[in-house]
């Protein structure tokens, strides 16, 4: 059972008994995670769990090994309130360690950027990583911000409330004139207790919480949740349900990528594409509503299958509307690539190097725009993607152009995928009843949402209830990418760079 580094291994959406997850001595655990990342694997999740049957804090690591489509799972036990941080040797866990510290009051010693993530009190009363007095509520946004010193340095603070209709977050720029030396992103404003509320479930609210973890990624997050609980309950989905989930996921990608191209056009004052894509995004959302009644895919993905069918009488109209939207989005996108004024603003703006991308563990279109070919649909295929491969779209310039162009490539691949699926929609029941979750098991699920890798981990207790549910939205990895993209850019390029990532605040804050 034990594979790489003494960790157990599993696959996407396959449960394993929790007792099979090896507990390593802390030095070995640290070594395993650091080595894995150094050898090109990614840390998909690193999180704590208080097991009432055992002492101390259990720290789980999920290592994703894309070459072998394997997920390596291991844990360590922290008895002390401090441990030597992994971040100095493994930068991609920097936020995971901060999160661990904030949630469970353990201090990663030597962490170079040791600040709160979401500004909430520790889950273990009396144990606080910053030694704040018990009962004192942390105040959001109050932390030690990084400062650049110098007579001509000025600081610009933006948010939490921004100019448009957008979620809140705080951004601090250290500038020399127009030039940004450093951008610090401080979030936590959206913290709703989403992840914490899932413990003890599944209950009536669970699926609705998952649908709103990031409301623009309802299909992505509910698919990840369903994969996890279906792995824990056992049994198989019908081929039809698998395909419909895949179609819904690609529709979600189409709507958001199209909206992003429009928003990027808007930020460089190229109004034609901004106006067209604003409308076309709605056309894809309406297509989702044609399938399930909700523009955001609410009610569509359910444990055991899907809530709605794309029956034969609906398919012709569905295809017709998909193709009309594709025609128009092609015109709108090609205008972008044909306009020198747009290209002049997109090219060379907000560049992230492949090295930074890999070190920070970026995911999704942001990583593929750095030439890093990671895509869960290809690397850890689940459902319909085990049988139908969507080519990975990448570009290698790492700039705003690259992130825009990868989206355009993906729009084309997603339309092709949906069209092909509708030509031979397999039969089968839409949904089957799910049995109880197996007690004392752990399941990891990965889904390629439109922003990138969504990772969920579900751990059940001895009664088969969810003891710990971990959600890693792609934004959790990628906000650091945006901070890097702003280095040495003009501050006036921030909206453009921000839009080229278009990350989730609530998916990060949970």
């Amino acid at each position: 059972m034990n594979g790489k580094f003494g960790f157990a291994h599993t696959r996407n959406g396959i449960a394993l008994p929790a007792r099979d997850v090896p507990e390593l001595p802390l030095p070995d655990f640290r070594h395993a995670v650091i080595e894995a990342a150094a050898n090109g694997d990614r840390v998909a999740a690193l999180f704590g769990h208080v097991n009432p049957a055992a002492s101390g804090l259990e720290v789980y690591a999920i290592i994703s090994d894309s070459l072998n489509a394997r997920l390596h799972v291991g844990k360590a036990r922290l008895e002390s309130d401090r441990y030597p941080a992994l971040t100095p040797d493994c930068p991609q866990v920097h936020l995971f360690e901060r999160e661990l510290a904030e949630q469970y009051g353990v201090r990663p010693e030597g962490h170079p950027w040791f600040k709160p993530v979401r500004f909430h009190a520790s889950y273990r009363p009396g144990q606080d990583a910053w030694s704040r007095p018990e009962g004192s509520a942390p105040v959001v946004g109050v932390t030690d911000f990084y400062r650049v010193e110098g007579e001509q340095i000025h600081e610009v603070a933006v948010g939490p409330v921004h100019a448009g209709i957008i979620e809140p977050g705080h951004f601090r720029f250290q500038c020399h004139g127009e030039q940004v030396y450093h951008l610090e992103i401080s979030l936590g404003y959206q913290h709703r207790g989403a992840e914490r509320s899932l413990a003890g479930g599944p209950h009536r609210r669970t699926i609705h919480t998952l649908e709103t973890v990031a409301g623009d990624t309802s299909v992505g997050h509910t698919t990840a949740y369903c994969l996890a609980v279906e792995a824990l309950a056992g049994g198989h989905l019908s081929a039809r349900a698998e395909v419909l989930r895949g179609v819904a996921l690609e529709l979600e990608r189409l709507a958001n990528h199209t909206g992003d191209l429009g928003a990027l056009a808007g930020d460089v004052a190229f109004l034609p594409t901004a106006a067209y894509c604003g409308r076309l995004r709605g056309d894809f959302l309406n297509l989702t509503a044609f399938l399930c009644g909700s523009r955001f895919g609410r009610g569509l993905v359910r444990p055991g299958g899907v809530g709605f069918d794309l029956e034969e009488g609906r398919q012709a109209q569905f295809l017709e509307r998909l193709e009309a939207a594709e025609r128009d989005v092609t015109v709108a996108a090609e205008l972008l690539w044909d306009s020198a004024s747009v290209q002049a603003r997109f090219e060379g703006t907000g560049t992230v190097s492949p090295k930074d991308c890999l070190e920070l563990g970026l995911v999704g279109p942001a990583a593929r725009a750095c030439g890093v070919e990671c895509d869960v649909r290809q690397d850890f295929p689940w459902g319909v993607f085990r049988f139908v491969q969507i080519p990975v779209s990448s570009w290698d310039t790492g700039d705003v152009f690259s992130r825009a162009y990868v989206r355009w490539l993906e729009i084309q691949r997603s339309v092709e995928f949906i069209r092909a699926q509708l030509q031979s929609l397999p039969g089968g029941s839409l949904r089957r009843a799910l049995g109880p979750l197996r007690a004392g098991h752990l399941a990891v699920s990965l889904v390629e949402g439109w922003r990138g890798e969504i990772c969920h981990v579900a751990l059940t207790d001895e009664q088969g209830r969810i003891a710990r549910y971990k959600i890693v939205d792609p934004s959790f990895h990628n906000w650091s990418g945006l901070a890097m993209a702003l280095r040495n850019q003009q501050i006036s390029d921030f909206p453009l760079c921000n839009k080229s990532f278009n990350l989730s605040y609530c998916g990060f804050d949970l």
């Binding site: 979401r118 500004f119 909430h120 509520a137 959001v140 939490p160 409330v161 100019a163 448009g164 209709i165 957008i166 979620e167 809140p168 936590g188 404003y189 959206q190 913290h191 709703r192 207790g193 989403a194 914490r196 509320s197 009536r204 609210r205 699926i207 609705h208 919480t209 649908e211 709103t212 973890v213 990031a214 409301g215 623009d216 309802s218 909206g259 034609p272 604003g278 409308r279 995004r281 709605g282 509503a289 044609f290 399938l291 399930c292 009644g293 909700s294 523009r295 955001f296 609410r298 009610g299 709605f308 128009d328 015109v331 709108a332 205008l335 306009s339 989730s504 605040y505 609530c506 804050d509």
Partner: protein
């Protein structure tokens, strides 16, 4: 330039004829639920037990003479878990997208017709009726309500033609539009933004979260919506509300749509 012109011609005119014409919603759209408590068995609580947000109040056994089945649209996620759980067909979701109300208690359906939002009084309409500038604050919203507010400014809905516009600065605004259950971490920012809007001002709660906390109601990290923090003038239910539900609510508030008209 020529390409842009050709593209423009290809894209055509896209603004919907609403409100002059009745809009077409997808056939699976879930709008206003209709209740028929006459079908309820006295001791049946299937709907209330299925509801994820305690939106359904069942008092059949306790109060057989009164309204035995009530549904709070302010809490409702329009998920239809209740409709599926009901053995008697007492709850049915219709395609009616008109849901906005002026008073919180008007959102509690008890089998009567929903009292849709009435217009502001004449004095307020003189101030806001022809030009309403709104500042939006997402207070832990999931970006679905935000997205369907944003869409009102696209060419499809063209909010500007009704004299309504979202503005960047609260100083330029006549009112606030709140989305999200209001996290503790957004409470101060929300209240400060509201305070920065010059009086007289309006407050509009959009979506189940802003009205009641939605799927997060009761979590210690949030304030169950903005009602306890601001004097709300318009409640727009939904998770998220359809853009037409929001637009209908805004136009009713301004007196541009009245009565049973769609």
């Amino acid at each position: 330039m020529l390409r842009a012109t050709i593209a423009r011609l290809k894209q055509g005119h896209r603004t919907i004829p609403y409100p002059a014409e009745e809009p077409v919603l997808p056939d699976r759209f879930r709008g206003l639920p209709v209740l028929d408590s006459a079908r309820c068995a006295d001791d049946c609580r299937a709907c209330a037990d299925a509801c994820p947000t305690e939106a359904i109040i069942r008092e059949g056994a306790v109060n057989p003479a009164g309204a035995g089945l009530r549904l709070d649209l302010g809490r409702c996620l329009f998920c239809t878990d209740c409709q599926e759980a009901c053995p008697a067909g007492a709850i049915r979701y219709t395609q009616d997208y008109r849901l906005a109300a002026r008073n919180r208690q008007d959102l509690v359906l008890d089998g009567q017709t929903l009292k849709l939002a009435s217009a502001l009084n004449e004095k307020s309409r003189r101030v806001f009726g022809r030009s309403l500038k709104l500042r939006q604050v997402s207070a832990a919203g999931c970006n679905a309500c935000e997205a369907d507010l944003n869409v009102l400014s696209t060419v499809v809905f063209d909010l500007g033609r009704f004299g309504i516009q979202f503005v960047a600065s609260p100083r330029h605004a006549d009112g606030i539009v709140v989305t999200g259950p209001v996290s503790e971490n957004m409470r101060t920012a929300l209240l400060e933004t509201y305070a920065a809007i010059p009086a007289p001002k309006l407050a509009i709660a959009v979506g189940a979260c802003a009205v009641s906390g939605g799927p997060y109601a009761g979590n210690p990290e949030i304030h169950n919506g903005c009602e306890a923090l601001l004097p709300v003038d318009l409640y727009i239910p939904g998770c998220p509300p359809h853009p037409l539900t929001i637009l209908d609510g805004l136009l009713r508030l301004l007196g541009q749509i009245e009565g049973d008209r769609r």
